[in-house]
């Protein structure tokens, strides 16, 4: 039996079979690569995924801010996820405009650009090791014997804002 027939049978079986019972507890993640390192982003933290997003560069005090992009009639600041995580700080200059993929945080407050998109991952709850602490890593799971840390993008964004926001102000960061 050819692979085309197998694909067709699998596709038809999806319509022929009864609705599956509720799956055991699991969580959905987006698998990314930042600076060559595997990273997982909870799917619930993401508003949308984009490829070849047009980013207009802006002058910034820090290396994290790449620019702004127009997403669904909204101006969203796009940060370099690698620079924000510090995994590609040394190579930030070389990879600043090589980021092809971008995700927008739920709520549309900001977006993060990254190098590669490994796909969607559905991980059982008991396979996730929850981390305790105040960092941006919430936990970790393994896929194909490769550990993949779970990154809290909101915490990353808060850290960026805390780093560059002047003390006592609530407005956007200003150039010195």
């Amino acid at each position: 039996m050819s692979r085309a027939l197998e694909l067709r049978d699998a596709f038809d079986r999806g319509f022929a079979l009864a609705e599956r019972p509720a799956a055991p507890a699991h969580r959905d993640f987006l698998s990314l690569r930042v600076g060559g390192a595997p990273v997982a982003i909870p799917l619930g933290d993401v508003a949308s995924l984009h490829a070849d997003l047009v980013i207009v560069p802006l002058p910034a005090r820090g290396p994290e801010l790449l620019g702004v992009a127009a997403i669904r009639a909204a101006i969203v600041p796009i940060y370099d996820l690698g620079a924000a995580l510090g995994v590609a700080a040394a190579a930030a200059g070389a990879t600043r405009w090589a980021t092809r993929w971008a995700i927008v945080l739920r709520g549309g407050a900001a977006g993060f650009a990254f190098e590669a998109h490994d796909g969607h991952a559905r991980i059982a709850e008991d396979a996730i090791a929850v981390a305790t602490g105040r960092g941006h890593v919430r936990g970790q799971f393994q896929v194909d014997d490769e550990p993949r840390p779970i990154v809290d993008l909101a915490a990353v964004l808060a850290a960026i804002e805390t780093r560059w926001r002047p003390t006592g102000t609530t407005g956007p960061a200003k150039e010195p």
Binding site: F11, G14, G119
Partner: protein, 487 residues
């Protein structure tokens, strides 16, 4: 000065001195002997004078005796002594006178006794005559008169003086003889001693000089013979080494001779093989011409293959372009599915069924993406294979071109080979001829080396003989030196 004299001159000088000494001694001896002889003659002369004087006196007495006998007896026979004495007195007197001519004193005495003799003889003659005519008594009275006795006494006296004179002369000559004998003895003794001493001195000087000279020459000969011995030894060693080297050279020449013969055989075989090679080269030239035609046909086929392959590459590239579109669609579908999943998750329970569909769409997009990726790999493989084939074909085409060119070059090369093989054949024949000549030359060299080896052995033997002779010469010079030094 003596050192520069030759052996003969030294020996001649030595003998000359000895001969001169002997001549001096001989002359002195001769003179002494001659003096002795002369003296002896004079002694004999004196004795003769004394004998004649005695004879003269005896004849006078005999005459008296005969006169007395005749006077006493009156017989004639008693006159015989008188008669004989008268016959001898004058010759005796003349002989004495002749013998004493060198002595004037004796001549004077003889002149003095001559009248006395004549008177005595006249007296005797008168008495005899008287007796013949007279008697004994008468004659005896006349005799008793004593005249005859007086004459006789005078004769005796004078003749006694003469005898004493002769005795004196005899004593004088005896002394001369003794002096001459003593002188002769002295000459002989001292001459002999002097000659002996001179001979010893001359002999010592000559011996010393000759010993020094011969000793120096002997030492020089010893040194020279030692050097000659060393040189002969070295020559013998060199000759042995040369003989060994000549033997090795002879062996090497023999090997060279065998090698030359082998080379000659090989050159002959090379000549034969070169002829066969020339035939093969001509055959190869024809074969290469055929190969050139085949290569041209192959070149055309390769060009066709290259064209088809390039077309296949273009089609594959077009398929890849289409596949890029499919991949883009799959990726966009995946993005849409993920976003749909996100939206469904945001919708809560209302979006759960939609989430399921979105999930299926995402899986489908993943499969499409995987298939696209797989097809991309296949197309890349096909394109790689096409490119490899094209490159290989082009390489093959170039190889065919190169092969064609090489075949053409081979044809030229074969012609050159045929020409060179002909040259090689000629050269091989020349090598064969040259090698035969070389073999002959090597044989001659071998004979010469054999002769030289024989000469070297003879030289070795000669050197050994020279060494032996030098050793004998050394021993001889040592013996001569010992003899000279011992002396």
């Amino acid at each position: 000065m003596l050192r520069n004299w030759t052996f003969g001159r030294k020996l001649g000088g030595g003998f000359a001195v000895t001969v001169i000494a002997l001549i001096v001694i001989a002359v002195a001896g001769f003179r002494s002997a001659k003096s002795l002889i002369t003296n002896d003659q004079w002694v004999a002369h004196t004795h003769q004078v004394r004998r004649d004087l005695a004879e003269l006196l005896a004849q006078i007495i005999n005459a008296e005796t005969g006169e007395r006998g005749f006077v006493i007896t009156g017989k004639e026979e008693f006159l015989e002594p008188y008669t004989k004495a008268l016959q001898k007195i004058d010759p005796t007197y003349a002989e004495v006178r002749q013998l004493t001519l060198d002595n004037p004193e004796q001549t004077r005495r003889l002149d003095a006794i001559r009248p006395l003799i004549d008177a005595r003889l006249d007296e005797l003659k008168r008495r005899i005559e008287q007796r013949r005519t007279a008697s004994f008594d008468a004659v005896a009275v006349a005799i008793a008169g004593g005249q005859g006795k007086v004459l006789t006494e005078k004769l005796r006296s004078i003749m006694g003086e003469m005898d004493r004179e002769e005795d004196r002369l005899l004593e004088l000559r005896r002394r001369d003889a003794e002096a001459s004998t003593e002188a002769t003895t002295l000459v002989i003794e001292w001459g002999s001693i002097s000659a002996i001493v001179l001979t010893i001195v001359v002999g010592w000087v000559i011996t010393r000089s000759l010993s020094n000279q011969i000793g120096a020459s002997a030492r020089h000969i010893q040194s020279s013979s030692a050097e000659l011995q060393a040189a002969a030894n070295q020559q013998a060693t060199g000759a042995r080494e040369q003989a060994t080297a000549m033997a090795e050279i002879a062996s090497t020449i023999s090997e060279l001779l065998a090698t030359s013969r082998q080379i000659a055989d090989s050159a002959r075989r090379v000549s034969q093989i070169a002829g066969q090679t020339a035939t093969a080269a001509r055959t190869g030239e024809v074969t290469v011409a055929r190969g050139h035609d085949v290569a041209a046909g192959l070149r055309r086929q390769v060009d066709l293959i290259v064209g088809h392959m390039l077309e296949l590459g273009n089609k594959s590239q077009q398929a890849g372009s289409v596949l890029d579109i499919v991949a883009e669609l799959a990726e966009q579908t995946n993005i849409l599915a993920i976003n749909a999943t996100i939206e469904a998750a945001g919708a809560g329970d209302a979006g759960r069924r939609f989430g399921v569909v979105a999930d299926e769409i995402r899986k489908l997009a993943d499969r499409v993406a995987a298939s696209t990726k797989e097809i991309r790999g296949m197309i890349d493989d096909v394109r790689g294979a096409v490119n490899t084939t094209v490159m290989a074909t082009e390489t093959g085409s170039k190889a065919v071109d190169s092969g064609t060119a090489q075949v053409a070059e081979m044809a030229i090369a074969f012609r050159q080979i045929a020409s060179l093989v002909a040259t090689t054949t000629e050269a091989a024949r020349e090598i064969e001829l040259s090698t035969k000549q070389q073999t002959t030359a090597v044989e001659q060299v071998n004979q010469a080396i054999t002769g030289a080896a024989g000469a070297t052995r003879e030289t070795e033997a000669s050197a050994s003989q020279t060494l032996q002779t030098a050793a004998q010469l050394t021993e001889l010079s040592t013996s001569l030196l010992e003899i000279i030094q011992a002396s």
